[in-house]
């Protein structure tokens, strides 16, 4: 039953990608409306999946790579559908729903078994920390798509630039919250709020890159493609924080792999 919901979510996301992409080529409003509907159905499917898993496991479903990918696929879709409805830029929606689809698809290749939570993770901070981080990740992912599209275009595009910027401010706030909640949690679990663990260090590097983005934007008035390059760089650092650290480096977060 739960797996079925995950597959339904995957199916709807797949449909969204196609419908949004079709909407790009044939400027028919109906395609976009259907795509939105499909994305929302997908989000609902994943929401129920996470809810049931939470209930079955009797703990928040945020403890390993599989679960976090599902959360990522869920959060990116939510942010993307919201942005698409507000700004009606379909190209971003194609990219974002593709990333959601890939996250869910990759997740379904991993071990779905519900494992008991290790003692270090048994804390209320788990939910707060993971949710703030992933809301941040989702917003920064949409910012990346927007920036990457901007870099592919021949001319500057103010719409894409503004979305990048808005998503980065939002994502930066949640990245900050994610790092702070992680730090407070670490202090209550281990007695150290910062221990230069690879994941911590990389999250700080990511944070610095986005801080630079904001600084050059505010003070040097960098916009458009110049700023978009930093956004892409920040996203790469974020991806490394999320995946690379788990697979390549060992530390406090190594259960994530």
């Amino acid at each position: 039953m739960p797996s079925l919901l995950l597959n339904i979510g995957f199916g709807f996301y797949f449909l969204s990608v196609i419908l949004y992409a079709a909407g790009l080529f044939f400027a028919k409003k109906i395609l976009t409306v259907l795509a939105r509907f499909s994305t929302i159905c997908g989000i609902l499917g994943i929401t129920f999946y996470l809810g049931i898993r939470w209930h079955l496991a009797a703990r928040p479903p945020f403890s390993n790579m599989f679960e976090s990918l599902v959360v990522l696929g869920w959060a990116v879709a939510i942010v993307s559908v919201f942005i698409e409805i507000k700004y009606e830029i379909r190209s971003i929606a194609v990219g974002a729903s593709l990333i959601s689809l890939l996250a869910i698809g990759y997740a379904s290749l991993l071990d779905k078994e519900i494992a008991p939570l290790m003692p270090a993770l048994r804390s209320n901070w788990l939910t707060i920390h993971v949710l703030t981080c992933f809301i941040g990740y989702a917003a920064l992912t949409v910012a990346f798509i927007s920036s990457a599209l901007l870099l592919f275009k021949k001319k500057e595009d103010e719409g894409l630039d503004i979305i990048s910027y808005k998503m980065i401010t939002f994502g930066f706030l949640f990245l900050t919250l994610g790092i702070i909640t992680g730090s407070v949690w670490a202090n209550s679990a281990w007695g150290t709020y910062w221990s230069w663990d690879p994941k911590e260090t990389w999250s700080l590097i990511t944070w610095f890159i986005y801080a630079i983005y904001l600084h050059v934007r505010f003070t040097k008035k960098w916009k458009g493609k110049m700023a978009a390059r930093i956004s892409v760089l920040g996203f790469l650092a974020m991806i490394f924080t999320y995946f690379g650290v788990n697979y390549l480096l060992k530390g406090l977060h190594s259960y994530g792999g």
Partner: protein, 333 residues
């Protein structure tokens, strides 16, 4: 002035940004060797890293002073940058006035001081370990299979759960089996002939069982998951197979008491995520004796900088919210 401020501001971000990256490269070289979670790696306490932090602080201070007198419009940025200084200041307090050390405390042992920064620190009270408990999640598929000695290979008479203390009849054979002990990594002390855990890694999972026959005669023996043919001669009627699936830690609990002199003040169970606070110190469950569970490793911390760091965190959140969500609203009016 603005340009100088901006340039220096950007300037500090670049070395700041590279120093952790530099370190990551080093981690790459050392590969998996960097394991220790509390180990402040030497690079982060190296003079050049500290120097960058001091430069950043100085730079931030200059930027903040440049913003004075404060305008409403720049309140958010002021708070956000001030917060970084507050956090660094809190960390500095922690480094100077904080104490941190690991105590290895044996069962029934009483400890009243610990080593921090290379010298002993007196707690002003003592802590005694009454018991250390380590529990594991056992996969429901993990079973001790009982087979007839002379039967088909896959014939199973009974599947016994492997939780320590389980006692069950082997169907209607009149035999009883009891699970006595579990070891992740079985090893035999050659001198004393005592079985012990060599490490916390499941290299050689084994359980000790006791078989009681119809007449009440008992026999104890070990069964090894990885060496099914190696168990000691037990009973001519049965063969035992230990189907091990993989266990996960469930709980690490140090049952401790706090004493002043001989008077017991309080008792508490320290778990991961549930430290004990007493007399300005916090005790965290950190490590344990993987061989015999004879001692518990508690991290002892006193860090007066933490409230300052937390205040910095709150300022940072407030600052970022003001910059991105309050200022635009004000501007629009």
């Amino acid at each position: 002035m603005a340009i100088i401020t901006l340039l220096s501001l950007i300037g500090t971000f670049i070395p700041q940004n590279e120093s952790p990256a530099f370190y990551i490269e080093k981690i790459g070289h050392m590969g998996y060797s960097v394991l220790s979670k509390m180990g402040l790696s030497s690079l982060y306490s190296s003079w050049w890293f500290i120097l960058f932090l001091i430069l950043l602080s100085l730079n931030l201070t200059v930027c903040l002073l440049n913003r004075l007198p404060l305008k409403v419009r720049s309140l958010g940025t002021f708070i956000a940058h001030l917060s970084i200084l507050v956090i660094l200041f809190g960390a500095f307090i922690g480094i100077v006035y904080g104490e941190k050390g690991l105590i290895k405390i044996g069962k029934a042992e009483e400890i009243s001081s610990f080593m921090s920064k290379g010298r002993p620190v007196d707690l002003g009270f003592s802590i005694r370990l009454d018991d250390f408990i380590y529990n594991e999640h056992i996969d429901p598929k993990e079973k001790l299979l009982v087979q007839p000695a002379a039967g088909k290979e896959d014939e199973v008479i009974a599947e016994i759960p492997t939780e320590v203390g389980t006692e069950l009849n082997i169907t209607d054979t009149g035999y009883k089996i009891k699970i006595l002990r579990y070891l992740n990594d079985f090893a035999m002390d050659t001198a004393t002939k005592v079985a012990l855990n060599r490490s916390a890694a499941p290299n050689n999972p084994a359980i000790e069982a006791e078989l009681k026959d119809k007449d009440g005669k008992t026999a104890k023996f070990w069964i090894f998951a990885r060496f099914p043919d190696m168990h000691q001669k037990t009973d001519p009627n049965f063969k035992f197979i230990y189907r091990w699936v993989g266990r996960r830690p469930k709980d690490f609990i140090s049952k401790v008491a706090i004493l002043r002199g001989t008077r017991e003040i309080t008792r508490k169970n320290i778990r991961v995520n549930e430290p004990l606070s007493f007399g300005g110190y916090k005790f965290f469950q950190s490590t344990y004796d993987t061989e015999t569970l004879g001692w518990s490793g508690l991290q002892v911390v006193s860090d007066p900088g933490v409230p300052v760091v937390y205040a910095g965190f709150l300022l940072l959140i407030a600052g970022v919210i003001i910059i991105f969500y309050v200022n635009p609203v004000i501007k629009r009016r």
